[in-house]
């Protein structure tokens, strides 16, 4: 349930953004709160949201069939959930389930896409910042893949 | 005078004297009477090694040795020199730091066990024919084994040793002690030092003591005072040896050179030739790495713990659960050479190399540490110009 409009988004993702760009982004953002057990998104659904988390914990997970639920990452304060809105076909690849009540600024992906097409400077800023998020996530995933605590004897 | 420079100010120092070749066995018997087991160069299996000696006839009389990368031959000399060879294949290390040492034994009792120290009367050894580079190596191992946790096994042997040094009057094909600042003349740390002088039938030794114990032995020998020409002859011969080093190693900035080039292509090149046989570490007089072995008796009632020489060229050497840290030949050669020439200085305030050249002579494929350093140095220079 949206808790109202915002004029400024306080989140590391958007730190240092110009006032002009901030105003434009704030125009497609709102604050929201999600309770334990709620899904922010489900695999396969259209991805038209991005969540800039300021509190709580969100689990990225998948139903692994006979393996049960597989949890791949937990996102928390200062993390960003959702970059599928950037790339066609704009579908979520994971379930996002709330483990501890989440407070987040929600961005409207459709509106962001329109913004960045119209204003390439803003588009550049956004893609640069989301690339950093993706890069961090990739690095963390590689580390998990390495299974550093495993028994490699 | 070069020959006396080395002993100034030392207790028990004497002026140089002369011991005739025909009286040389007096030295061996004096040492034996003092309770020492004389160990010296002997000819065995076509090579000169160190072993127990009873008299000068056990020494490799009239023999010398040719050294080059992966090459060694004992050949005849034109004279009857006792110390006319360059360097035996094995070093004094095997006496001071034996290849195998029993550390202790445990006995099982009532579900627990008790530990008994290895009780063995340490030998009193007189090392006869210690070269300058070898005495430098012994001084290096002294530092290694007397650090924060002194090793009583080493010390119990070391502190009983009597050292008879022999100055080099010739240099072998793989010698580079001059580069490492360790020879060819002994400067310190000996009980007695000899220089062998042969002119036609005149065969004598210039001799002097470096310690009170050395002076004591000296006082029991039939000596004549040295004349100035004896000293200048010895000095000349030693200088000639210094001028005829078979190899040289440029140590200038060597730590920085090796620390800055851990990925130099030369490491791959040398690794492709290296057989990982560990010969270099076995013959090296300073290499000190060891491992431990546990030997339970067949019925399990006792278990011995041994220390044995080990080598950084073995795969097990760097093994931690999961695998060996230095799994490639390149990494192992790099570890050995970088330790020997660079990190050793950080650890012990001295290079780990004394320039004896054994690792070159006894490498089955003739890998030459001096050439490897030079290659990294020159190829590094050429990199810099790109």
């Amino acid at each position: 349930m949206p808790t109202g409009d915002v004029t400024r988004v306080e989140h590391p993702l958007l730190a240092g953004l110009s006032d002009e760009h901030m105003t434009k982004i704030a125009g497609c953002a709102w604050g929201d709160r999600f309770e334990e057990g709620e899904y922010l998104f489900r695999v396969g659904e259209v991805a038209n949201r991005c969540f800039l988390i300021s509190a709580g914990r969100l689990s990225l997970e998948l139903d692994g069939g006979e393996r049960g639920i597989i949890r791949i990452a937990t996102l928390q304060e200062e993390d960003v959930a959702g970059f599928s809105w950037i790339f066609p076909p704009h579908r979520w690849n994971w379930d996002g389930r709330v483990v501890e009540p989440v407070e987040a600024t929600v961005l409207d992906g459709e509106a962001l896409r329109a913004l960045k097409t119209k204003d390439h400077d803003l588009g550049y800023e956004l893609l640069l910042r989301f690339s950093a998020v993706i890069s961090d996530r990739l690095e963390a995933t590689r580390l998990q893949l390495m299974d550093v605590y495993g028994d490699h004897g | 005078m070069t020959a006396t420079r080395s002993v100034y100010g030392r207790e028990g120092m004497t002026a140089a004297s002369v011991l005739d070749r025909h009286d040389f066995d007096h030295l061996i018997s004096a040492l034996t009477e003092e309770g020492y087991q004389p160990i010296g160069p002997i000819l065995e299996g076509g090579r000169i090694i160190y072993g127990p000696i009873g008299s000068s006839s056990d020494l490799p009389i009239g023999k010398t040795d040719l050294h080059d990368g992966g090459l060694y031959r004992v050949i005849d000399r034109q004279d009857y020199a006792l110390f006319g060879y360059n360097l035996p294949s094995d070093s004094w290390k095997q006496y001071l730091f034996p290849p195998r040492t029993l550390l202790w034994s445990a006995n099982r009792s009532n579900g627990s066990f008790t530990v008994q120290p290895a009780i063995e009367e340490p030998p009193r050894l007189a090392l006869i024919g210690v070269r300058a580079c070898e005495l430098a190596a012994i001084a290096i191992q002294d530092r290694v084994f007397t650090g924060t946790h002194p090793d009583p096994h080493y010390l119990s042997i070391r502190e009983r040793v009597f050292i008879v040094g022999v100055n080099c009057v010739q240099a072998g094909g793989t010698c580079f002690c001059v580069s490492m600042g360790t020879g060819p003349e002994l400067s310190d740390g000996y009980d007695l030092v000899l220089t062998e002088l042969i002119e036609g039938d005149d065969h004598r030794f210039l001799i002097r003591s470096g310690t009170a114990a050395g002076g004591e032995v000296l006082s029991r020998l039939p000596l004549v005072p040295a004349v100035p020409s004896d000293c200048s002859n010895a000095e000349g011969l030693i200088a000639t040896a210094a001028d005829h080093m078979g190899r040289s190693l440029d140590t200038d900035g060597i730590q920085q050179l090796l620390y800055e080039n851990p990925e130099h292509p030369r490491w791959d090149a040398v690794a492709s030739r290296c057989l990982q046989c560990a010969n270099c570490t076995m013959v090296c007089p300073t290499c000190f790495c060891s491992t431990t072995e546990d030997r339970p008796s067949l019925d399990g009632s006792s278990a011995d713990r041994w220390r044995t020489w080990d080598s950084c060229f073995s795969l097990d050497y760097s093994y931690i659960h999961g695998g060996a840290i230095r799994s490639s030949a390149k990494a192992r050669y790099r570890q050995w050479m970088t330790h020997k020439l660079a990190t050793w200085i950080d650890q012990f305030g001295t290079s780990g190399c004394v320039g004896c050249g054994r690792c070159i002579t006894w490498c089955p494929v003739g890998i030459d540490i001096t050439r490897e350093v030079q290659a990294i140095r020159t190829e590094e220079a050429s990199h810099a110009h790109r």
């Binding site: 949890r71 550093v148 | 090793d151 009583p152 990925e263 431990t292």
Partner: protein, 280 residues
């Protein structure tokens, strides 16, 4: 002649002292903790290790994982990995183990006084940090903000489960826990331990103590640097093959360092160069 000290007066540092196993706890499928009864006590500094000997089998270096304020108990947490740790795993209360030590340089608990402290432990690397955190808890007023990030492979490979729960109940400790992989019965964080580092409360002059597998320490140091930690304020615990524990056997060399006597704990600034070299 040799001018060194006389061997007769020296105790032989290679002699081991038998100690009786008082208790044994299974932590996970492959990891266990044993308490030994050291005759006369066994004072140690957090981060130090001992050489543990199993009769007739061999000797291994193991970090001490117990409480430094209780020298009457000598505790090690051990992962079954090789021949000797396998034999240690088979010990029962009443059996004996040979002990030498304590050896090595421990955690900089003096240098960290009056500063913020961040501990980061991964897997069996949590064990050597446990005495450090225990010391800090025992002397809580000596330190400012204290936090710890702990990572395990999975919930069932967690060590010190009850104790971590107790630590988390301290109002003046921030203990963050994560696992690399989990199912939906796990309510905590999932992800690598480095992801916890931005969340920890600590100022720029904070002291970090890091212990875990090499890869984990490399990435943790990087994450700490991203938080403007000074490289000289980051301490890591190194691991190498060791045969003697006292700087004589050569096995534990890491560049110029003998990990047994110069380490295992070193400033990251001192080893950063070596971290970048393969197979060093």
């Amino acid at each position: 002649m040799c001018t060194v000290t006389t061997a007769e007066v020296l105790p032989d540092p290679m002699l081991t002292t038998p100690m009786v196993v008082m208790a044994r706890r299974q932590e996970t499928a492959d990891t266990f903790t044993i308490d030994l009864a050291p005759p006369g006590g066994f004072p140690f500094e957090p981060g130090q290790f001992t050489m543990l000997y199993v009769y007739g089998v061999g000797e291994v270096p193991i970090s001490i994982s117990g409480d430094p304020a209780r020298p009457e108990v000598l505790t090690h947490t051990i992962r079954r990995a090789g021949k000797v740790t396998q034999a240690l795993a088979g010990l029962k209360p009443g059996d004996s183990v040979g002990v030498r030590g304590p050896y090595g340089r421990g955690w900089p608990l003096e240098a960290a006084r009056d500063k913020d402290v961040v501990l980061v432990g991964g897997g069996i690397g949590v064990a050597p940090l446990r005495p450090a955190l225990t010391h800090i808890i025992n002397h809580r007023a000596d330190y400012r903000l204290v936090s710890m990030a702990i990572g395990f492979r999975s919930p069932k490979e967690m060590l010190f489960v009850d104790e971590i729960r107790q630590w988390r109940q301290h109002f003046d400790l921030d203990i963050e826990l994560t696992v690399d992989a989990a199912d939906d019965t796990w309510r905590g964080s999932v992800g690598v331990v480095t992801r916890l580092i931005p969340m920890l409360d600590a100022g720029e002059q904070a002291v970090a103590m890091v212990c875990g597998p090499g890869v984990m320490m490399t990435f943790t140091a990087r994450a700490l640097r991203d938080r403007d930690f000074q490289p000289e304020n980051i301490y890591v615990s190194l691991e190498r093959n060791m045969k003697c524990g006292i700087g004589l056997c050569g096995h534990c060399q890491y560049g110029p360092l003998f990990v047994c006597t110069d380490g295992p704990v070193r400033q990251f600034s001192e080893v950063e160069r070596l971290f970048g070299i393969r197979e060093v």
